[in-house]
Symmetry: C2
Subunit: 293 residues, 2 copies
């Protein structure tokens, strides 16, 4: 169900959004393809989306709309606590998440743990828009190892922000949706700590299940647990979510508009109104996350 | 570019989202197809979306997510002015928009002007979920004529709410995106009047153009002009907009949460938080509607 292919006669990339639904994109060429020990990485050039790359056939990052995902995974937490200094990114090998964080002068250290070094190297070659800064910002430390193992070995309470920038809960991303992993995140966060996680989508059944599983597990651990949404057109259904969990800070009650606006950070999707509006969820999503676990 | 087809060997419905992008849906069968004087109507059965119907190959209404579109096109205006009594719907032949409005006991009259009677009849047969109430609510008066002509013949100032529930600005929907048409809407609205219009989408170029054209024209006429967004997965990009224009009332400043909550109307997408959150637009959309006209 979850694969892509290039038919022999043409140049069409496609991804299944559910068992009966498919998004297809005409591509100019496939410019890279490799099977790593973890997954298949492919890179394409297209008219509408510019360069894009996929993991095991799933759209990860394209030049047209990656800014939406990467702004929303970072700035909501940073505008809730602009004093964040130490950050752990799990996954995020394309670099987009750390690119947004590197706009904050107060941040002292960004540990980025990507299981598959090839994702970083391929993005450095083909997607400078997300990976170009990785060699330039000395606050970013890259670790190529399993995120679960890495976090186990860190001191308790040292991160102000942990961002789980993972793929779907299948393949290499699976361990990043487990209860044991979220417990580790909780333990490694400082008293003001925030956990942001890729929270799947409410629309199609497969992603809905991932969303509900992640949500129930995080809810059992953190006193503050919220979900926020955004429009991500090239992900299945275009209706995508992040989870916001914390030990203390509330994304609306502690939203520090003034401090964030003062930083003068340029964004193309995120702004202070979107920050608050994104937490307004449709009734059917609220029903799902509040009643089914 | 904008057509659908059923390939001879299988049962795949598809729609182009832009020149290089396509959404395709496996269907169980096509259960109806006809060419009217205005457009081609087709009805399909599918696993994921239940029954759905298309006009000239474009997805209009399906049983899985029509509630999103129809709740968002109606309740935002009704919660801004719960005293609305007379309403004109232009288009909306599937009935979904009037279904939501028929939940309000205070409404006295709903004129619904659909250019193509066959749309209503086909939906009455195959989509009772949206059209089933049409014969039961005596406040709804159906007119099968051109919306532009119909509105020209009405008395000035008689509608509290006009909803333009149109297709894209090509084919029969084209006249509903013109300056002359919006001027007529303005004239036929009461002093508290609100105009809601199908406002296309900011993501793909074709819809972005429609959005900008409509926005500039409405902005030239009304003192209050806002745009709000929602997640509509089966429309191109899933990022879809409505326009809110009025002679006086502001959708946030005059949002009457108490009065609306008191009505106890059941909704699956809309709620009072979504009402306000939907007006928080991404920077790239704000840049488009504020700077390019």
């Amino acid at each position: 169900m979850r694969q892509s292919y290039i038919p022999s006669g043409g140049a069409i990339w496609w991804q299944n959004w559910d068992e009966t639904t498919k998004l297809s994109i005409e591509v100019k060429e496939m410019i890279h393809s490799e099977q790593t020990p973890f997954q298949k990485i492919e890179v394409y050039r297209s008219d509408t989306y510019g360069t894009f790359f996929t993991l095991d056939g799933l759209m990860m990052v394209n030049e047209k709309d990656e800014f939406i995902y990467h702004e929303m995974i970072t700035h909501v937490a940073m505008a809730t606590n602009p004093d964040i200094q130490t950050i752990l990114i799990i996954g995020g090998g394309d670099g987009g998440t750390s690119r947004e964080l590197s706009k904050y002068p107060k941040i002292k250290r960004i540990d980025m743990v990507e299981i598959d070094e090839r994702v970083v190297r391929v993005c450095e070659t083909y997607l400078p828009v997300t990976a170009g800064h990785l060699k330039e910002d000395s606050r970013i430390k890259l670790y190529f190892e399993d995120g679960f193992k890495f976090i186990s070995n860190q001191m308790d309470g040292i991160y102000d922000l942990i961002i789980v920038d993972s793929t779907d809960p299948i393949g290499p991303g699976e361990g990043l949706f487990t209860k044991a992993f979220y417990e580790l995140c909780h333990r490694k966060l400082s008293p003001n700590g925030i956990l942001i996680n890729q929270h799947e989508s409410p629309y199609y059944e497969f992603h809905q299940k991932g969303m509900l599983r992640a949500h129930a597990r995080i809810k059992a651990l953190f006193p503050v647990v919220e979900v926020y949404q955004y429009h991500m057109p090239t992900y299945p259904s275009g209706h995508w979510l992040f989870g916001f969990a914390s030990k203390k800070l509330d994304p609306i009650g502690d939203h520090n508009v003034k401090a964030w606006e003062k930083l003068g950070i340029k964004t193309r999707y995120y702004n202070s109104k979107i920050h608050e509006g994104a937490f307004a969820l449709p009734n059917y999503v609220l029903d799902l996350i509040n009643h089914r676990e």
